[in-house]
Amino acid sequence: MTRYAMSIDLRRCVGCQTCTASCKGANATPPGIQWRRVLDIESGEFPDVRRSFLPIACMHCGDPPCEAVCPTEATTKRADGLVAIDYDLCIGCANCVMACPYDARSIVHEVRYAYGDAPMASEAKRFDPGRIGVSMKCSFCKDRIDHAARTGQKPGVDPEVTPACVNSCISGAMAFGDLDDADSGISRLLAETQHFRMHEELGTAPGVYYIWDKS
């Protein structure tokens, strides 16, 4: 079996948003929609204050609440752990948006371009009408993962088949790979660090691990 997952080392993230920009470039998301974001969280009270950066996106849950509520079967959990959306089935009811505790999903109801009504050349070339009026979110760059299945390359090892955000991370905070492979980079990394999964108490079994200290 294969269970693709991601780890994000919060000690290393510097909040540069390169992953955000890289995701936007790779997936051509419309203005105002970011499948990956990095939040800037301030906590504590003066003088003991902290600033933390929290990269977030779809958690590709093991028990995805979005999949359970979807009335159309547009959202499915794949055998390799990815949670995918079939844009041709989705009716845009937004039930999955409500079910997701990670604010990972969004629906764009009308065509939007970065600069007014006319698209830039790049927007015109990559515009996908199939994504209007339906739910969308981070796909873990599933086209690359699917390509790996054909070529025999390893996601998380070979950049061509690794999610764009992971490739772009300037501090090496993000790792991707197969959790069911004990020798994968992500498995070894998680074995030697302390980590948490966000909102784990909700029973979603998220596929993104946040590293916060060494073991």
């Binding site: 080392d9 039930n95 079910a99 909102h199 200290d213």
Partner: protein
């Protein structure tokens, strides 16, 4: 809807959901009341005229709600895809039950069949329950996912159904049995109990502060307009106060109106997202790890 611009520090905190607007709220408001009304239409013991009027009103309410939600979805011409996932989706189940509601209801109206009316009533109850479960299945909205929201929404729909049945029965000239008045009175009180149980439950599990503020602002309205005054009016009816028509109208307006208000509050105004959290502030440099951060939340048992 255009999302409001938020400061960076606010992005992690719970935000009011903006995907289900008044049209989705209308589905819960009309559908819940319609489902409850069908149930009471079937079992109130009215004559043929009042039963038919109640059945038609119940189906009209459910139809109105579903039409509103059809105008909200992003791809309305694919709406039939809603029937694809009955295994776990309460939205699919609601849609399936709606078919049964209209099938049995139409049969009862056209043939006058008591059996069909009873089935329409049962399906109305199932429709109401499905709607309650739709909200509760949404883990992203703490005010919905609490298990106590299901009895609250069911009790609300039943209270609305009983009071609407009373009014329609009276307007259609049916003999109103004491049982229906007592049922309406009990359901108005049960709804209030379900509300306080729900609110206490949210306090004990923790919830976004903004959601609790909205709910607490609504509570006095439910108490006085939705419970005390309708209960007094129903008691007056029970004890034979003259002027039946105006009293019934008051009961319906107050009990059903606050039910709609409650559902609008829950679906729109108190629907704040889970927000994002860090269980451990990471170690940076030589500094130690920090405590958990969960912006915008009131911790459990402080609510």
């Amino acid at each position: 809807m255009k999302p409001a611009t938020l400061r960076a520090a606010q992005l992690a905190a719970p935000k009011q959901q903006r995907n289900w607007d008044w049209r989705a709220a209308a589905n819960f408001i009309c559908g819940g009341a319609g489902g409850g009304l069908l149930l009471f239409a079937a079992f109130a013991g009215f004559g043929r005229g009042a039963t038919l009027a109640s059945l038609l009103a119940g189906m009209a309410l459910i139809g109105t709600g579903l039409t509103c939600v059809w105008f909200e979805i992003g791809r309305p011409w694919r709406a039939l895809n809603v029937y694809r996932h009955i295994a776990s989706s309460w939205m699919t189940r609601e849609a399936v039950v709606a078919l049964a509601v209209f099938g049995c209801g139409a049969l009862a109206v056209l043939t006058g069949s008591v059996v069909a009316a009873v089935f329409a009533g049962i399906c109305g109850g199932a429709f109401l329950y499905s709607q309650a479960r739709i909200l509760a299945a949404n883990k992203g909205i703490p005010a919905w996912r609490h298990p106590a929201s299901v009895p609250l929404l069911v009790a609300t729909g039943l209270a609305e159904g009983a009071t609407l049945a009373l009014a329609i029965g009276a307007l259609a000239g049916a003999v109103i049995g004491v049982g229906l008045v007592v049922a309406a009175l009990i359901l108005v009180l049960v709804r209030a109990w379900a509300w306080w149980r729900y609110r206490a439950g949210l306090g004990s599990t923790g919830a976004p502060e903004a959601a609790l503020r909205v709910l607490d602002g609504f509570a006095p309205r439910l108490l006085w307009l939705g419970t005390v005054l309708p209960a007094l009016a129903l008691l007056a009816l029970l004890f034979g106060m003259p002027g039946l028509g105006p009293v019934l109208l008051l009961v319906v307006l107050l009990a059903a109106g606050t039910g709609a208000w409650l559902k609008y509050t829950l679906v729109r105004r108190a629907a704040f997202t889970q927000g994002l959290a860090i269980d451990h502030i990471p170690v940076r440099g030589r500094g130690p790890a920090g405590p958990a951060v969960k912006p915008g939340w009131k911790p459990a048992s402080q609510g």
